[in-house]
């Protein structure tokens, strides 16, 4: 369960064009980028990115022998034929946005962005297994093990991990403009983020019941399970875009913050009766609604502070970063309000 599952199925942010989001955006818009923020269309930006990521993923996984495993891998990664199965692709979107912020071409980040989605999907497939969450469905259709069998689901996950690395190596433009050393840093970053001190740690802590404990434990699970993946996405985009150390560090903090923010808002939605109940909706029980809302405000402010660092240097290119923050928060409360006043 990482970022993209947190995102709602399409349709995306009507929020950006709604009056609600405009209440938030002008904080930046009035100071640094007055006209552009109003005209920046997150939905269009996101839609074009998702289209690019989808075609990258589709091409990365051709049907070939043995067909059963490739069918299971495609099923796990690619969205269903239309309808509610569409994935939001948050990790790749964040990765490409970070790269583009720095002025580098999208093509430098797309292979790594697709790899993020493969790793992400691999962990989702394993997370849904009967011995874990035992989720019969994901994104509105049978989960991979329900469709292909548990043994094939384990193997599909196992095969998606290495595919992420072969894809990055085969398709990232390297050594020019991306030097081999940067490619290696990106791969090490990905491996760390999904490994025993990253997402796997979060899944482990969740299994161990840490979400039933106090605030510190809950925040740790959220950070490990969701923050690490988003941090990795932003960090990979930063490296591929040629970020300096300070820029990379700021984008890391931004990514981590926004990953936790998305999840927390998602849990608030779940607890208020909107959206699907998730296994870790107990986050809200541990924090209490008031505290959770307080943390949302803190995270939002932190993410904006990190994005602010880039405003002077990169101008309008920072706008996607602001809009992600607003989207993360706004969509949640909009739904919550709707539930409160049916």
């Amino acid at each position: 369960m990482a970022l993209s599952s947190i995102f709602l199925p399409l349709p995306l942010p009507k929020l950006v064009s709604s009056s609600r989001s405009h209440r938030l955006l002008p904080v930046r818009a009035s100071s640094d980028a007055p006209a552009a923020s109003a005209s920046f269309d997150l939905r269009r930006y996101w839609t074009s990115l998702i289209a690019d990521v989808e075609s990258e993923l589709d091409a990365a996984m051709p049907m070939r022998p043995p067909e059963s495993i490739h069918a299971a891998m495609r099923y796990a990664v690619l969205p269903g034929a239309g309808k509610e199965g569409a994935a939001k692709r948050a990790p790749p979107v964040l990765c490409v946005a970070a790269c583009e912020l720095l002025g580098a071409p999208r093509s430098a980040a797309l292979p790594a962005a697709a790899a993020l989605e493969m790793l992400h999907a691999a962990s989702l497939v394993h997370d849904d297994l009967p011995c874990f969450d035992a989720a019969p469905t994901r994104r509105g259709r049978p989960s991979t093990h329900a469709a292909f069998g548990t043994d094939m689901a384990v193997l599909a996950g196992d095969a998606l991990f290495p595919l992420a690395y072969t894809h990055i190596i085969a398709h990232t433009p390297s050594p020019d403009p991306v030097p081999h050393a940067v490619l290696l840093r990106v791969m090490a970053e990905l491996a760390r983020a999904v490994g025993s001190t990253g997402m796997a740690a979060g899944q482990f802590l969740d299994l161990a019941g840490a979400t039933a404990l106090g605030e510190a434990e809950v925040m740790q699970v959220l950070t490990k399970k969701f923050g690490e993946m988003a941090e990795c996405s932003a960090a990979c985009g930063a490296m591929l875009g040629g970020a300096g150390p300070d820029e990379e560090a700021a984008l890391r903090r931004y990514g981590r913050t926004i990953g936790v923010l998305y999840e927390l808002v998602d849990d608030i939605r779940s607890a208020s009766g909107n959206g699907k109940m998730r296994s870790n909706a107990s986050v809200l029980r541990a924090l209490g609604m008031d505290r959770a809302l307080g943390i949302v405000e803190e995270l939002k402010a932190q993410a904006k502070t990190e994005a602010d660092r880039f405003a002077d240097k990169y101008g309008d290119r920072v706008l996607p970063l602001y809009s992600f923050v607003d989207y993360a928060v706004e969509r949640g409360f909009e739904l919550q309000d709707a539930a409160a006043a049916p």
């Binding site: 095969a159 690395y165 290696l184 760390r192 740690a201």
Partner: protein, 363 residues
């Protein structure tokens, strides 16, 4: 599930003989036993085929010491790669439980030896060597799961999911796989004396080989085709049997050898020769295993003998007959040796003896 039985046998095959017997004999005595067999059988080969064998094998090469030293080095690297007690402690404990369970570390040894044979320092290849062992361990942890082979014991110890539960066993495998790639890609895994100009490109290429060999067209492909075939009652054609072994067993040996050769600075031609060598010994490993299953007692094997027959599994003796299977094994061994012919004899000695070891092991 019924079909898991075959896979169980096959996965034991992959592990048991290369790693210490399930009975967990102390490493030194089991190594000594192998050495004894190895020498005895080697002399038999020399007598039978005087033209081929003696020239290739420097008599003074001490295979026993070579393997012991390499496995100690690799064990230290593995121990350091997954620090004890780092949070979450129980997850790292499960990783260590599976990874540090002992073993002859044949895959890492192949990786180090391949680095050496092309003129590199073996230390350069220590990170990839540790990584292949992590991948190997990960594949065993997942193979043992109830939804796969459903195995309770490995190397005489309860399997990971028996000790820690299924969910943690899945995570342990995933974490080991990620750790393997982190270890290979991370610049800090390599000694300072690597060629700073060429090294990053070599590591990128090595990482690609590792990922390719274990993915849906490598190790996993072998497992998938094996799973698909275990339900069927018809005899598996030779071609399919070879496909399974080349993927389930040979692919990771190929990754080990090829990564070592790349990191060691081997030429493309050397790398491809060593790839062929690895594929030959990978297949050889399985042919020998099938032969042992019908010719040895359970006591000699340290595992249930005759299991392949009992489970109606397709094997080389079943398809070719015992004698032809032996001939095929000899052919694979000579193919592997042939690939080593162009290398410096002294530097090629470890790879040569690893091939003999795989061919002439008795359990």
């Amino acid at each position: 599930m019924a079909m898991a039985f075959h896979t169980l046998a096959a996965s034991r095959v992959r592990v048991g003989p290369l790693l210490p017997a399930a009975a967990a004999a102390p490493m030194s005595s089991s190594v000594a036993a192998h050495r004894y067999h190895h020498r005895r059988r080697f002399s038999a080969i020399v007598a039978a085929a005087p033209a081929a064998a003696p020239a290739a094998a420097p008599a003074e090469f001490d295979f026993d010491s070579y393997m012991t030293e390499r496995s100690e080095t690799v064990n230290r690297a593995l121990d350091a790669a997954i620090p004890e007690g780092e949070p979450p402690a129980a997850l790292h404990e499960a990783m260590r439980y599976s990874l540090l369970a002992g073993g002859k570390r044949v895959r890492p040894a192949l990786c180090l030896a391949a680095c050496g044979v092309v003129g590199g320092r073996e230390e350069w290849a220590l990170a990839p060597a540790a990584a292949v062992e992590m991948v190997h361990t990960m594949s065993l942890v997942h193979d043992d799961l109830p939804c796969m082979d459903d195995d309770d014991l490995r190397r005489g110890k309860p399997t990971c999911h028996i000790v820690y539960g299924e969910a943690i066993a899945v995570l342990t495998g995933d974490a080991l796989l990620s750790q393997a790639f982190h270890h290979v890609a991370n610049a800090g895994s390599y000694p300072p004396d690597v060629d700073s100009e060429k090294h990053p490109a070599r590591v990128v290429r090595a990482t690609f080989e590792l990922a390719r060999c274990i993915g849906s067209e490598g190790l996993v492909a072998g497992q998938v085709v094996d799973l698909a075939m275990t339900g069927a009652s018809e005899v598996v054609p030779l071609e399919r049997l070879e496909y399974i072994h080349l993927h389930k067993t040979a692919a990771l040996l190929e990754a080990s050898v090829v990564m070592g050769a790349i990191i060691g600075g081997g030429t493309d031609e050397q790398i491809e020769r060593l790839r062929k060598y690895a594929r030959s010994i990978g297949l050889l490993f399985q042919v020998v295993d099938d032969i042992l299953d019908v010719t040895k007692s359970s006591e000699e094997l340290g595992k249930t003998a005759g299991k392949d027959l009992a489970s109606d599994k397709t094997t080389y003796p079943k398809l070719l007959g015992l004698e032809k299977s032996r001939e095929f094994a000899e052919k694979l061994l000579s193919d592997a040796k042939e690939q080593l012919a162009g290398f410096d004899k002294e530097k090629a000695a470890p790879l040569l003896h690893l091939a003999y070891y795989i061919a002439h092991r008795q359990n």
